[in-house]
């Protein structure tokens, strides 16, 4: 490959200037003239029949323009399974579910009206634990599940149960292989639901227009998915819906699907077409918008005495909450990834996504992999110990390598990257094999742990996107895409790709920040760490289209064949005669000869990318090709534990990812460090707490804590390997989600090393750690 000028450089974000000056506009900063403000009333009950709602006092509040309840809205929504209403209709299925909404001249009036709504509920039986929800006698969260429309052939809801989806993976004969194994173990693990906590809560503005059209501004990761799902829900042509996405204040998967947009739209309609803005309070963000699903897992491993894995069986029971949303696809993706990055001839996985009466789950950075690998990577450590093997050595013997196949039957090649190199690099960086350094106090102990991670984009087989690159009068280029840069940095990377391909300096390439389904070309969704990969490929193709147009016009202008022309440094010139170049600015709108004759026209390139070679998975065996690419990695940590209080301090965490190619080291490092700290939150702090009535006990920042600047590991060591990905732009793979995955696993393994105690539940809070220490130290009843 020719030497790269721009790709691979630490180019700062172009939007950063707007963000450091306060000029960047997020949804609630927009303020269209005449915009009304909306508020919602949420259910205090986890499961109840709505007997009646008295709206009269609410409607009498001065400034109130509309009050809507579920009774007004006979529409079902859903990504993969249409099980949800815009506002609860007839029944509420979780505490926090929106029951009614008010639009008014001011937010204060809307809130006052919500307080005056009188809702009569009749409480119904509820179920909160997905393991209970699978029992035959469990109350059904969706008694009408059989009638719901869903994506057939991919998802399999079980009528008459709470199972929204059951994903199977079958490879070889795991039962026989386990029976024949020298060593077997079975362990159960659990993860609580957690929240994404984007700093910007969900917000949307809708403006219902004459002729059945609507314009929407939303804090969404996925403008085209919002448009598509609105079109399906309301039976509107796609062209009648225009979705804008301004700056988005973080998403992490929580803004991937349909959020507040339908509600904003029906409120705007009800107010005669006044624009309506709705934004979640932080409490509503916790109580009402979706979270990461909880998980209960049981894993059985078999191995030979010499340290070869023989089989893995797993049962994953996901706590979907009240609606399926992305949860069913999390259950699917985490099943086909559900054995970790190991070579296994025999594997059986059952992943059940189970409805409960809790806030519903959705995509969250890692898409089920952090949860599943919490169990798998803890189990691998236990197996290593059972075999008397070093955990790194045990993994090295069993990781995927060329010649092996994944559990869905995909051959593993060198193009997949090098998981073993990741493991070794991370382990080396924390001095694996040397005992931990001396603790800082007598009541503290230290330990080390490693964990592997892997993930592929979970997306439909037909996922596609497009890019447009147009040249300006001054010869600069504009890139238009509809993936959203909600912080991860992809727009900067796409600018670098375009600059590289077009032969322009980076400051001559811009990207249109706002996505607009009427202006920017299609992209499926901004999820799954696939935007740089797919969008990058689309931009490369669009640039090639531009160059082809530039060369054609320059060929006419210079009277030479187009295929002898080179595009570099903003000029097109004959290979043998660089001095005869024509600047892009003189070609961008067409070339004009000295006598006034003109040829060409505005240069606009178009590029596309569609997922290639993916197949639907066999419903009975899960065999098939689910992944465009896989990204592998490993964490190694050294921790110190206060044995009197249970506090964990991460002294050092080394994270090695096989990125294929680092397109921008500054931003890539930002993804890694940010992901590690987010993973640390899942590891030691975060989790929803519910009371016995299903009420969320920590729906705010006083009670739900995320890491602060005081909670960083003492040292973070990002390590990025570059074993290129065939088909990736410059060989790159996605790395946005991965740094977060398996951070809890590595810390759990280090905790075992430090204390000799096994932990199965997250988070590894001080309280949980101390509780286990005290139990372990308590004298056994049968000892004197």
């Amino acid at each position: 490959m020719a030497e790269l000028r721009v790709v691979g450089q630490p180019v700062p974000r172009e939007d950063a200037v707007d963000k450091v000056t306060g000029a960047a506009r997020y949804t609630t900063d927009l303020a269209l003239p005449g915009t009304l403000r909306a508020a919602i009333l949420t259910s205090p009950h986890a499961s109840a029949r709505i007997v009646r709602i008295d709206t009269s006092a609410a409607l009498a509040v001065p400034g109130v323009r509309a009050v809507l309840t579920g009774a007004d809205l006979d529409i079902r929504l859903g990504l993969y399974l249409r099980d949800k209403r815009i506002l609860a209709r007839d029944v509420v299925r979780y505490q926090g579910e929106a029951v009614a909404a008010v639009a008014a001249d001011t937010l204060d009036a809307a809130r006052e009206a919500c307080h005056l709504l009188r809702v009569e509920y009749q409480e119904l039986p509820a179920v909160f634990d997905p393991r209970d929800a699978r029992k035959p006698e469990a109350p059904l969260v969706h008694p009408d599940l059989a009638t719901y429309d869903h994506m057939r052939g991919v998802f399999f809801p079980k009528a008459g149960t709470n199972i929204a989806h059951h994903q199977k993976v079958r490879k070889g004969d795991s039962a026989a292989a386990l029976a024949a194994s020298d060593v077997c173990l079975e362990v159960s693990f659990d993860n609580p639901p957690v929240q994404h906590v984007p700093m910007e809560t969900h917000a949307a503005i809708a403006h219902a227009l004459p002729g059945g059209r609507v314009e929407v501004w939303t804090s969404s990761q996925s403008p085209y998915t919002v448009r598509h799902l609105l079109a399906l829900a309301f039976g509107m042509p796609h062209a009648a819906i225009r979705v804008h996405v301004p700056h988005v204040g973080g998403g992490f998967g929580g803004k991937a699907g349909l959020g507040l947009e339908p509600l904003a739209y029906v409120l705007s309609r009800a107010c005669g077409g006044r624009p309506v803005e709705i934004a979640m309070t932080r409490e509503e963000e916790f109580n009402t918008t979706p979270s990461r699903q909880g998980l209960y897992s049981t894993i059985r491993l078999g191995a030979t005495r010499d340290g070869r894995l023989t089989a893995l069986e797993a049962e994953y029971v996901w706590d979907a909450g009240a609606y399926a949303d992305y949860g069913v696809n999390v259950g699917r993706a985490a099943a086909y990834s559900g054995a970790g990055p190991y070579a296994l001839d025999h594997c059986s996985i059952d992943s059940y996504v189970v409805y409960t009466n809790k806030v519903y789950g959705t995509a969250y950075r890692g898409f089920g992999h952090l949860e599943v690998l919490w169990g798998v990577e803890r189990a691998m450590d236990r197996m290593a110990r059972a075999l008397g093997l070093d955990p790194v050595e045990f993994r090295r013997r069993n990781l995927l390598r060329e010649g092996a196949t994944t559990i869905t039957g995909e051959p593993f090649t060198n193009g997949h990257g090098k998981p073993i190199e990741c493991l070794e690099a991370a382990a080396e960086a924390i001095g694996w094999g040397r005992r931990p350094s001396a603790p800082s106090a007598p009541h503290k102990v230290r330990g080390k742990g490693v964990a592997m991670l892997h993930k592929a984009p979970a997306m439909p087989t037909y996922t596609s996107c497009a890019a447009i690159v147009k040249l300006d009068e001054d010869g600069a280029a504009d890139v238009l895409v509809s993936g959203v840069d909600y912080g991860q940095g992809t727009y900067t990377v796409l600018r670098q790709v375009a600059a590289e391909e077009l032969g322009l300096p980076i400051d001559k390439v811009h990207i249109t920040w706002e996505c607009d389904t009427a202006m920017t070309p299609y992209d499926w969704q901004t999820v799954a760490s696939r935007f740089a990969y797919m969008g990058g490929n689309a931009v490369i193709e669009a640039c090639a289209d531009c160059l082809c147009q530039l060369r054609a016009v320059a060929a006419g202008a210079l009277g030479v064949p187009a295929d002898g022309l080179v595009c570099r440094d903003g000029k097109v010139f004959p290979r043998q005669d660089p001095a005869r170049g024509i600047a892009y600015k003189d070609l961008a709108l067409g070339y004009t000869f000295p006598n006034g004759n003109s040829i060409g026209g505005p240069v606009i390139g178009h590029g596309r990318y569609i997922a290639t070679g993916l197949t639907n998975l066999d419903p009975e065996t899960g065999q098939g090709r689910p992944a465009q690419f896989w990204t592998y990695g490993a964490h190694a940590v050294e921790i110190e534990v206060d044995t009197e209080t249970g506090e964990i301090e991460v002294l050092r965490i080394a994270t090695a990812l096989d990125a294929g190619k680092v397109l921008n080291p500054l931003l890539c490092r930002g993804q890694v460090v940010g992901g590690i700290v987010q993973g640390l939150g899942s590891a030691v702090l975060e989790g929803f707490r519910f009371d016995d009535k299903g009420r969320l006990l920590n729906p705010n920042f006083v009670d739900y804590k995320i890491p602060t600047a005081k909670d960083l590991p003492r040292e973070i060591v990002p390590i990025l390997l570059e074993n290129p990905q065939p088909g990736g732009p410059y060989g790159a793979r996605g790395v946005a989600e991965h740094p977060m995955i398996s951070v809890p696993s590595a810390i759990g393994n280090a905790l075992r090393d430090a204390l000799g105690i096994e932990f199965e539940s997250l988070p590894l809070s001080s309280e949980r750690v101390l509780e286990k220490i005290l139990v372990a130290r308590a004298p056994r009843p049968d000892t004197p």
């Binding site: 204060d108 006990l697 890491p707 602060t708 600047a709 909670d711």
Partner: protein
Amino acid sequence: MLGRFDYERPTNLAEAVRLFAETPSAAILAGGTDLLVELRSGRHAPRLLVDVKRVDGLRRLDVGPRGDLTIGAAVSLNELLEHAATRWSFPGLAQAAASIATYQLRNRATVTGNLCNASPAADLAPALLVLGAAVGVAGPRGARVIPVAEFFAGVKRTTLRRGEIATEVRIPAPEPELRSAFLKQQRLRGHDLAVANVAGALAPSTGTLRLAFGSCAPTPILLAPIETKGMSAVAVGAAAAAATLAAASPISDVRASAEYRRAVLPVLVRRVVAELLGGGAT
């Protein structure tokens, strides 16, 4: 909007007392870091806020001739922390103040407000209890002084009478070479309310150790003085831990279980004692 109420900003104490006492359902606004959260939630809906930050004298932060300290009701936690005499004479109080909330909130939150809010977890309470501090009060029937040890009546309840305003916190002159310390257990290193907190003060000349703790009972609790003369730090720690547990009645909440509080409270006590007494006997 945080509600519909009137706002008054008196400049003298008599006016503040009159406004507060005359208006049914009035609230005192000092730092506002607890009050405004209550207003936003709708749990509290006063008709009048009396902002005392510009009342004459309430910004005082004075060291008396013998080293006693008076902290006016408008003094913020950061102002206390930036006050050199506090950090030299009362390090435990400074540690407690520094452990509260965030830097931004400490620019607003007041010393007096931390007491008046009467949270069982108030971090300044144990630190002030071991210093023998008192709260100066002004009311329609005149001024009085309430020892901090008698200030808390229960969860979120004080012994202030109707119409009374806490105007200052008074810390008596410290005994010679008084040592003090504060420790707090929280869920993370970043800002959090206390799972448990412990303050201690030791007068080396007499060997008297005072200990107080919070977030493990309906109110912060001051233990009876412990005589440490001739005892090892370990022995004092053990005795103090036992006394603390005997006085504690923690509950389980979203921050921690009662069991965890019972487990870490003696740890904090022993650590505070070790810090004050050092390794050996006094």
